[in-house]
């Protein structure tokens, strides 16, 4: 007997394969008709016509890192909120109070980041 549950997720894998096949087919088709004549000027990085200085990889702002950290905090929270949301009717008032405390603590975290000024993009 085959498991319907696993079959559902086999389709997920197959759709992923389909995406790769489609992209591969498009690029493969293009490679049959397109020209291929790279010249030094063509393969230089395009930076508005000015010759690029140094490599393309440079150091970037720390704020991207901080926003990523904040994101992790809230995304993990979402993982906890979803199961709660589906079962709220059974939990009733107990679940509501629990989640209010949880969201309040999270809001404190956001408030702390806000107060510290990391939400300002300057």
């Amino acid at each position: 007997m085959y498991s319907d549950f696993l079959r559902d997720y086999l389709i997920v894998v197959l759709f992923g394969v389909l995406a790769f096949v489609v992209v591969g087919a498009f690029i493969g088709l293009a490679s049959l008709v397109r020209p291929d004549r790279p010249t030094p000027a063509k393969v230089t990085a395009y930076e508005s016509g000015v010759d690029p200085v140094d490599g393309g990889w440079s150091q970037s702002q720390i704020r991207y890192y901080i926003f990523a950290l904040l994101f992790v905090m809230f995304d993990v929270e979402a993982v906890f909120i979803f199961p709660w949301a589906t079962r709220l009717e059974e939990y009733g008032m107990f679940g509501l109070v629990e989640m209010t405390i949880f969201i309040f603590i999270l809001a404190l975290g956001l408030g702390y980041a806000w107060r510290k000024g990391v939400l300002r993009w300057v």
Partner: protein, 347 residues
């Protein structure tokens, strides 16, 4: 369905329909909105030569892209650069997987459907970061980082806006959410069902704003802001790979519109007072045929809103973008969850 199909047969049919559901509406939306609606909003005709009313323009464009040279920058990280469009399209195809089109016409009805959709929608961020990093171009890298910062910032309001719907429906399955809206009642009146846009209009507004940002559509198109970053993470791409990013963008726009229809507009069902006239149930077998048409109609309405905003507003500044997400949308969506929870428990 009376016909019994072997597993491989039904799976093959699903894969073919997935191709149809991704590519055809994407092409349709590009012609209808990007070519024609944008032209009319700007008092011009748009493409008129290729085919009647320019309807074959898209084929001409694809033919053009096919013949373009595929340039790899000399310093690029070749593997990462080449793989980026694959990852973006992977996200698109996994997204369409959980969209239901009728009582039996769905690809797969995962128990965690909504959650799955929100999870795989973030995969495209990886592809965009790969494109930005792999190009070895400063503008590309900046664009990629901006895209990542923007997409994760607006991921949160989107996820939190959907929680309100999940609380009301009590399930994460897409089909479950559709049934919950068809069977629902508003203060004892069931003629409209209970499309969640009525009770969750705050959630709907936040969801649509977040969708606009997730798709990097104007006014949220800083990652590809042409006046600042050339074309951001797309700068070094040419030919087919460039087109694939565009297919990904417009196909994903349609799929997010499908999601908005399922979550807030009742999905493939029509309001019960209409089915009552014909004496059928909302999940009658005929909706396997009508459902996709209903979904397409709702999808076109929702994408109309998206493109309307796209053609009407100027671009935000980068700091305004982040402030809007973290200081306005996220607090509002937290309050929305709380209020929805209280109302659900009290009533």
């Amino acid at each position: 369905m009376s016909v019994e199909l072997a597993y491989w047969q039904s799976t093959s049919i699903r894969l073919v329909f997935a191709l149809v559901a991704v590519l055809i509406p994407a092409g349709g939306a590009v012609y209808l909105y990007l070519f024609k609606m944008m032209s009319f909003m700007q008092s011009r005709l748009g493409p008129m030569e290729a085919g009647p009313y320019g309807s074959m323009q898209l084929l001409a464009e694809v033919g053009k892209w096919l013949q373009k040279e595929d340039i790899f920058p000399r310093k690029a990280d070749k593997l990462v650069f080449a793989l980026a469009p694959y990852v973006v399209l992977l996200s698109t195809f996994l997204l369409v997987l959980v969209v239901p089109f009728g009582p039996d016409a769905y690809f797969v009805d995962l128990d965690v459907g909504v959650f799955f959709a929100l999870a795989v929608s973030s995969v495209s961020v990886l592809g965009i970061l790969m494109a930005g990093w792999g190009s070895a171009n400063k503008y590309s890298l900046l664009g990629g980082l901006r895209a990542a910062g923007q997409l994760i910032a607006y991921e949160l309001p989107m996820v939190l806006a959907v929680v309100g719907v999940v609380i009301q429906a009590g399930t994460l399955s897409m089909q479950g959410i559709v049934s919950a809206q068809a069977e629902g009642e508003i203060f004892g009146f069931g003629g409209l069902g209970n499309p969640f846009i009525i009770t969750q209009f705050v959630g709907f507004a936040i969801f649509m704003i977040a969708v606009q940002a997730e798709l990097s559509m104007t006014p949220f198109d800083m990652p590809i802001a042409e006046s600042e970053l050339v074309t951001g993470y797309l700068t070094e791409y040419s030919g087919m790979r460039f087109l694939l990013f565009f297919i990904g963008e417009f196909a994903t726009a349609n799929i997010f519109a499908f999601f908005a229809s399922v979550l807030f507009l009742g999905g493939w069902t029509v309001p019960p007072f209409i089915t009552d006239i014909f004496g059928i149930e909302y999940d009658d077998a005929i909706f396997n045929v009508l459902g996709p048409i209903v979904m397409l109609t709702k999808m076109l309405l929702v994408t109309f809103l998206v493109y309307w905003a796209r053609f009407s507003y100027p671009r935000f500044r980068e700091d305004q973008l982040q402030r809007f997400a973290w200081k306005i949308l996220i607090p509002i969506s937290l309050v929305n969850i709380f209020v929805t929870g209280v109302l659900k428990v009290v009533f």
